[in-house]
Amino acid sequence: MQKLSIPIPDKAIRRLKVGDPVSLSGVMLTGRDAAHKWMVETFVKRSRSPQGDDQEIYQAIKPLLDGGAIYHCGPVVAGLETGEYRFVAAGPTTSIREEPYQGDVMQHFNLKAVIGKGGMGPKTLAACKDVPGVYLHAIGGAATLIAQSVKKVLGVHKLDFGVPEALWVLEVEDFPAVVTMDSHGNSLHAEIEAKSKAALEALLAG
């Protein structure tokens, strides 16, 4: 088990290999479909001009993402009525939907770790080599278990995106995951896909 603390130095990223179990501690951000679309359109490609509190939030999240981690997660949150937020269930969502955006977000913010489930594609793998960064696979559906590693909800941005889509700022301790895409061009997902394709072809021919 490799312990990582956020911000994660390049040296630690380069040491990580596909298959390594890791545990993360520090401050991370959740972000999924709406957040990635918003970040890329407003600040990376600038096809949409900043509106409302966009600039303010950008300044707030920039230092958190620099050397940091983003978690593809739409949590169940208690305390919505009082503002004393608590994560009760917080497993990963399917990451591949962020494939059009993720590489650009990693480059723009110097983001080191992307956490989710199901793996990502060639664009993200290329960014992992370049930035450098890693893709960390959390256990899909293990939401109550993972929520135990969220020690504190420090804040939330863009709650108007809805609870699942908002950017939650979290303090985590020993957050468990497995490296499935590393900074050396290896992807467990590409490997399993190729193997299962060969197995499927054999079955279809039979």
Binding site: P21, G74, G141, A143, I192
Partner: protein
């Protein structure tokens, strides 16, 4: 009929926080098949730890509490309008209590309603009048990750060499499992409908998911195909979470439906390992949850 709102709330709580015993047993068996020290074994360990912890704490097994899909079988003369109102009230209350995540998003504005109530189809409620005096309600909480990897095929399918027979059904189901990889939170359960039109076929595939894990199909031909598909899907080696391993699917449930002469649809609904289905049976004096 009396007010069943509180009973429906308990049904939702149970479905979201406590996996049915037959599903949990199949997960335990799957763990034992994975090599000690492998990533697949580690994933199964975490899954089972999470299931036990969610039950004990009364918190959701998975944060994606999905689309609540209700099948309501009611005695003659009951008001389906009132039953729907009570179900909607229970769903909103379950959301307030954090048993459910607010999941109903308006497709045009992008706004989340905040209480899991959308149009008539969210939550989904199917009604059927039955004989007798009992109310029987089945609930499935189906998350978006696994719903997204569902697939529908029109046979024949030349690319897969799949004809209009059970051999063709076998080929397209294996293709669907391959395409899903680990993205539907493997190991999953497959609900497969053979026949119907595009709409009824997908409904049929979801209805098949209400069968118990250890319940083979009464038709020997389909029972045999269910067994074969399970063995062969597991030979793909995708494994828990797509990490590679012995168990890619926990079960396969087939359902045959009538079709038009021109159409031969095969619809596959993929249910993640967190197969959250529960049943409530309410008689005049008894209330049972399964």
């Amino acid at each position: 009929m009396r007010d069943h709102t509180a009973d429906f709330l308990e049904l939702v709580r149970l479905a979201a926080t406590d996996l049915p015993p037959d599903v949990e047993a199949s997960l335990v068996a799957a763990r034992e098949r994975e090599a000690p020290g492998s990533a697949a074994r580690g994933a199964m360990d975490s899954i089972l730890k999470n299931v036990a912890m969610a039950r004990q704490k009364g918190t959701p097994i998975c944060q994606d509490t999905g689309t609540p899909i209700f099948y309501v079988r009611h005695p003659e003369g009951w008001s389906t309008r009132k039953l729907r109102q009570q179900i909607r009230a229970a769903v909103a209350e379950a959301t307030r209590l954090a048993y459910l995540r607010p999941n109903a998003v308006d497709s045009l504005s992008g706004k989340n309603s905040g209480n899991n109530l959308g149009d008539q189809a969210f939550p989904t409620v199917h009604f059927e009048e039955v004989e007798g005096d009992k109310l029987v309600v089945d609930l499935l909480l189906k998350g978006g990750g696994c719903e997204n990897v569902g697939a529908q095929y029109a046979l024949p399918n030349a690319a897969l060499g799949a004809g209009r027979d059970l051999g063709g059904v076998r080929k397209v189901v294996l293709d669907a499992v391959y395409k899903a990889q680990g993205k539907g939170c493997a190991p999953g359960v497959l609900g497969v409908a053979i026949g119907g039109d595009r709409g009824s076929s997908y409904y049929g595939s979801k209805e098949a998911l209400f069968r118990k894990m250890d319940d083979p199909h009464p038709d020997p031909q389909l029972a045999e195909l269910e067994g074969r598909l399970m063995t062969e899907a597991n030979q793909l080696g995708i494994g828990p979470m797509g990490f590679g391993g012995e168990t890619t699917v926990l079960g396969v449930k087939l359902q045959s439906m009538h079709r038009l002469p021109a159409s031969y649809f095969v619809s596959v609904s993929y249910m993640c390992w967190a197969h959250r289905r529960r049943r409530m049976i309410a008689g005049s004096e008894h209330l049972v949850y399964q």
